[in-house]
């Protein structure tokens, strides 16, 4: 199992000489996953293009293996760089689905971790923790968010180093058993790779996740509201456009996640507005409609940061 020159996933007894590409594409059934990705994620054109490229590459790789043109298992570890809230976790889930359908991971689940899940507090704690996580991720994808926190050069006895060594070893020797995706801010990941060239050399695919532009964020907001049976009134919509522009200038901005948090607070204010006047009959339209005052009451408009969530917090 731990042999580095592992067998390809679809090794055939005798090589085939020709393959119907469409049939093969249909057989692996990845089109629905790609479509789902298109549906789920607004914008992100370059990311979607990269995913399609990788999927194509893997499909070809699979066929090459059937024809015995490829003889070793490809390296599939990836890095996803970009600011918070740009869809890295969602893309990781879909990527796991694609890898599974193409036969490059056996189960297709995603184990999402951060430094705290991998690195221990005292001597002898780290190796079992890291190994435990790796065992759980076997057959699927290990998604390490803000991977650079594993490496703390300021403390040379930091236990993170031990975790890194185990990860590197497994990423090499058991690459047919799991795919590791390292994620985080672009600049910090770059520094991390500079200090840990072992990781860089094991990463086959880098994908950069750009920030959403204002129009995309508005679109995301309206979609989120629609999913919960709310909608902006025309003026509220206009107010929210201004909200996005203002929010982007403030610290801890995290793209779609900031939008989700803002909408949570807007719904609170809407409810509060409705309940503050009990002597009325409310219609379903009243319950669904977000009015400008629900948006404008945000502290963002007075220059204070809205909310207190850290940029890494999950929604």
């Amino acid at each position: 199992m731990s042999d580095a020159a592992a067998k390809p996933p679809v090794a055939a007894e005798t090589p085939v000489s020709a393959i119907d590409l469409r049939k093969e594409f249909d057989a692996v059934d990845i089109a629905p996953v790609l479509e789902q990705l298109d549906r789920e994620l607004i914008g992100l054109k370059p990311v979607k293009t990269r995913i399609r490229e990788i999927a194509s590459l893997l499909l070809v790789e699979r066929i090459r293996q059937k024809m015995q043109l490829a003889t070793t298992f490809p390296t599939l570890h990836m890095s996803f760089t970009g600011n918070p809230g740009t869809g890295k976790t969602t893309v990781a889930m879909r990527m796991a689905g694609i890898l599974h359908k193409l036969g490059f991971v056996r189960r297709g689940h995603v184990i999402s971790v951060t430094r705290d899940d991998l690195v221990g507090q005292y001597i002898g704690h780290t190796a079992p923790k890291t190994k435990e996580i790796l065992k759980k991720a076997m057959g699927g994808v290990l998604f390490i968010d803000e991977a650079y926190y594993l490496y703390r050069p300021e403390n040379e006895r930091d236990y993170g180093q031990e975790s890194i060594e185990i990860l590197l070893q497994i990423m090499e020797s058991q690459r047919e058993d799991l795919v590791v995706i390292l994620a985080g801010y672009g600049d910090r990941m770059e520094k991390f790779f500079q200090s840990n060239p072992g990781f860089r050399s094991r990463i086959a695919h880098h994908i950069d996740f750009p920030d959403y532009n204002d129009d995309e964020l508005l679109f995301i907001a309206e979609q989120m509201l629609r999913d919960q049976n709310y909608s902006f009134s025309a003026q509220a919509r206009e107010a929210f456009v201004r909200y996005i522009a203002a929010r982007r200038q403030q610290p801890l901005f995290s793209n779609a996640r900031s939008i989700r948090n803002a909408l949570d607070r807007i719904r609170l204010r809407q409810a509060n507005r409705l309940v503050s006047n009990l002597d009325q009959v409310v219609t379903s339209q009243d319950l669904m409609s977000i009015e400008p005052q629900d948006v404008l009451a945000s502290r963002v408009f007075s220059g204070a940061p809205d909310g207190t969530r850290a940029p890494t917090g999950k929604p």
């Binding site: 199992m1 189960r107 065992k135 759980k136 076997m138 057959g139 058993d177 799991l178």
Partner: protein, 139 residues
């Protein structure tokens, strides 16, 4: 002799590929898989040493096979068994158990008889291996 405890002792020793399939069967059923080893294979030696804790919540056999191979590297001269534990109410016990590693030489057991009243007999089964201290029995 060949100790025939466990589910597959009458078959040729399982290959890693066969063991992987059995482990995956356990994981797909939602059972925790445990690795144990011993140098005292007495049929009533219930508690073999545990190679770490039972492994809960795994999806794929690869993680367990890695542990098994680590265990073999350290205790390859002894008996190693894998078991699948089902915590479902009404069972809460093992669902399967099978040997995956044996010492090269299995000396077997001596049957001691003690004649007591009438023609009655008291029987004691003793593993030849335990004549030597724990840890050096199959060197």
């Amino acid at each position: 002799m060949r100790v025939t405890q466990g589910c597959f002792s009458f078959l040729p020793d399982l290959t890693d590929e066969q063991i992987t399939a059995q482990v995956q069967y356990c994981l797909d059923k939602g059972w925790a898989v445990n690795i144990e080893f011993t140098d005292d294979p007495h049929p009533r030696n219930t508690y073999w040493e545990m190679w770490g804790l039972p492994m809960f919540d795994l999806r794929d056999a690869a993680g367990i096979m890695k542990e098994l191979n680590d265990c073999r590297r350290t205790y390859g001269d002894r008996y190693i068994r894998l078991s699948g534990f089902d915590a479902t109410h009404g069972w809460e016990s093992l669902r399967i158990s099978f040997i995956v590693n044996r010492p090269k030489d299995e000396p077997g057991f001596r049957l001691q008889r003690q004649e007591v009243d009438g023609r009655s007999m008291r029987y004691t089964t003793v593993s030849y291996a335990v004549d030597r201290p724990e840890g050096s029995r199959y060197e």
